[in-house]
Symmetry: C2
Subunit: 219 residues, 2 copies
DNA sequence: CACGATAATGGCACTTGGTGCCGAAAGGAA
DNA sequence: TTCCTTTCGGCACCAAGTGCCATTATCGTG
């Protein structure tokens, strides 16, 4: 797939050659608006390309697939998380660090909440996106696994780093689903609850689902 | 999708009308053999249909998608697991019951290990199947979530049942990946280790990855 | 034995996502 | 202007999947 290497970057204008007609961000805007209006599956790539004033072929130069549009610049998010983990002081217990990271990297700018909600709604509910998400989650898990591996002194592909990464992802996704179901819920609190329960082997799960129980067990 | 409702069943022969030319099981055999020979992506639905001596259109009456073939009769497996949970005595602690279930329902007949390995290899490594798996896992999680919900006295779609179901799935998948990487590994042991660690909030994860540590913490 | 109800088959056309190819357009530099 | 570089986007093509519908096989009945 030579497609993935030569995507135009929205960065500093290249010195030479024809200038890009659009950008990933702009395409994302256009696409998301269409998705919101008629739904994800009801919007074809032709629709998006037409609305953006580019050719269908060009669309696929900016995004490898229709699915990818919904994820925006996920890679940048991951880069931040990676950096956070790298700078995480060793005094913080591992599971606590994981909880904090998950909560921190899902804090939302109030003004972008509606878009993020739409995004997550589609990712978690449209089958095609639901399926595709696995591939994106893999990158997320890798970041977590590397951190855990460092703490445990094991390779990142060993059982525990992988299991923990999967479990964290699960807790996060479950929280998101809850958040989408109850639009009055606080995402941060849900994430805190889920990650905290995870860190305790779900032993406190018998407690009623009241407000944050034992959210800072070790720190 | 009216397609999903009227698939021929391999059960007792229907009294009237033309008889099915093949069966899900037979198609599965044919397809898996082709997948093993040339790979999943290199095998088209036309190839499978031709090899099975049926029309391409007919293939889609037996399986809703090419992806589905790999999963065989997953629904039956789930039905068994549901039944097991339903008959699980309340004395067994929840997390212990989950561990046992995961281990029990992944015990393999030695003679079908190679096929199962191929299956899982594809599911966990071929991107298209990796993505598709999410949709099948959802059913698996639902079974777990219902059991957990019963134990916790919460709705199945509440945060904890969902988070626990996701976490269990994660532990299981991580174990499978490990099993595939090291063909000398014992799947049951890996599952035991991962589920046990999960039940302890991964506190013992600092132990070296030696032979099953604390595999039967509560029973 | 023909007849009619029933159910599976499979061809055909069509939609959609995605890719390889390649010439055309656009812009900076010499 | 000319050359070089980069993006654009049309075209042809492939594969998955679906709706439609005529065809075929099978059973029960008159």
């Amino acid at each position: 797939m030579p497609e993935t290497t030569d995507r135009p970057s929205a960065a500093r204008a290249p010195r030479v050659g024809r200038r890009p007609r659009t950008s990933r961000a702009e395409l994302e805007q256009v696409a998301l608006r269409l998705f919101a209006e008629r739904g994800f599956e009801e919007t074809t790539v032709d629709d998006i390309a037409a609305a953006a004033g580019i050719g269908r072929r060009t669309f696929f130069r900016y995004y490898g697939s229709k699915n990818d549009v919904v994820w925006g610049d996920f890679e940048r998010e991951l880069e931040h998380m990676r950096a956070w983990f790298a700078g995480c002081p060793p005094e913080i217990p591992m599971m606590d660090a994981l909880r904090r990271a998950v909560v921190a990297f899902n804090r939302l700018d109030p003004d972008q909440v509606p878009w993020h909600r739409l995004r997550m709604m589609m990712i978690l509910q449209v089958p095609a996106l639901q399926a595709h998400s696995t591939l994106r989650y893999a990158d997320w898990r890798a970041v977590v696994a590397v951190f855990v591996a460092g703490r445990l002194g094991q390779p990142a592909d060993a059982l525990m780093p992988q299991a923990i990464a999967y479990a964290c992802l699960g807790a996060a996704v479950a929280s998101y689903e809850q958040w989408l179901r109850h639009d009055d819920a606080d995402l941060g609190e849900l994430l805190n609850r889920a990650m905290s329960a995870l860190a305790h082997g779900f032993q406190g799960a018998l407690d009623p689902p009241g407000p944050v129980s034992g959210q800072t067990p070790t720190g």
